[in-house]
Symmetry: C2
Subunit: 134 residues, 2 copies
Amino acid sequence: MHRGFGTASVLAMDTRTMAVAYVERLEARDWDGVTELLAEDVVYEMPQTRERITGREKFMRFNVEYPSDWHLAIRRVVAEGEHAAIWLDVRDDGRPVDAVVWVDAADGRITRITDYWPEPAEPMRGREHLTTRF
Amino acid sequence: MHRGFGTASVLAMDTRTMAVAYVERLEARDWDGVTELLAEDVVYEMPQTRERITGREKFMRFNVEYPSDWHLAIRRVVAEGEHAAIWLDVRDDGRPVDAVVWVDAADGRITRITDYWPEPAEPMRGREHLTTRF
């Protein structure tokens, strides 16, 4: 049903629905389904490594070629207007990773994706009187 | 105007307004103003270090005592219902850091705050044919 470009069903998707579909189709390796959510000139950025991928074709190759066994589960989506923020529980070769994805949409397509993959870190000293660990 | 607890002006704040006020009042070191946005049993979490702070009093001490010279500027807020996601440009002792803050609200107060501070990282090898650097 979501195959083919420019269908009314895609154009009618709101930003939340698009954000959820983006994650679910990635997780399903439904590459055609992901592709149809994206603007042709979509920009994908990873600010932590300062890497940018421009255009749907390269971004899809990036996903298809990604070398690890990755799995995505949505913890939360917050959407407003043409922006969404996605909080993900990722498994990357079995390792649990939290991720945050910022999505921009326009005209019913995703035009920009910004990924953050925050890594585990050691607590700063001197605040043990205020914190507990989980 | 935003001094004092339980005023109508606070209770009427929507989640977006609360999220913006939270950042602006932190940046202004308006500790009373921040305090009044928070539920008494607010929970603050930093998943990267697995640190949790429980309760408004301890969380305010955490902010007041924070040892660096930090500055916060809002890049984006996305709010929906009782959730918001905040994308911040932070300066931490002059060093630029991106941060993401997830906010939960209930009954006109912030009940949970989850902070991510993604660190710079080296690009993975093998995708230079797809990426540019910025």
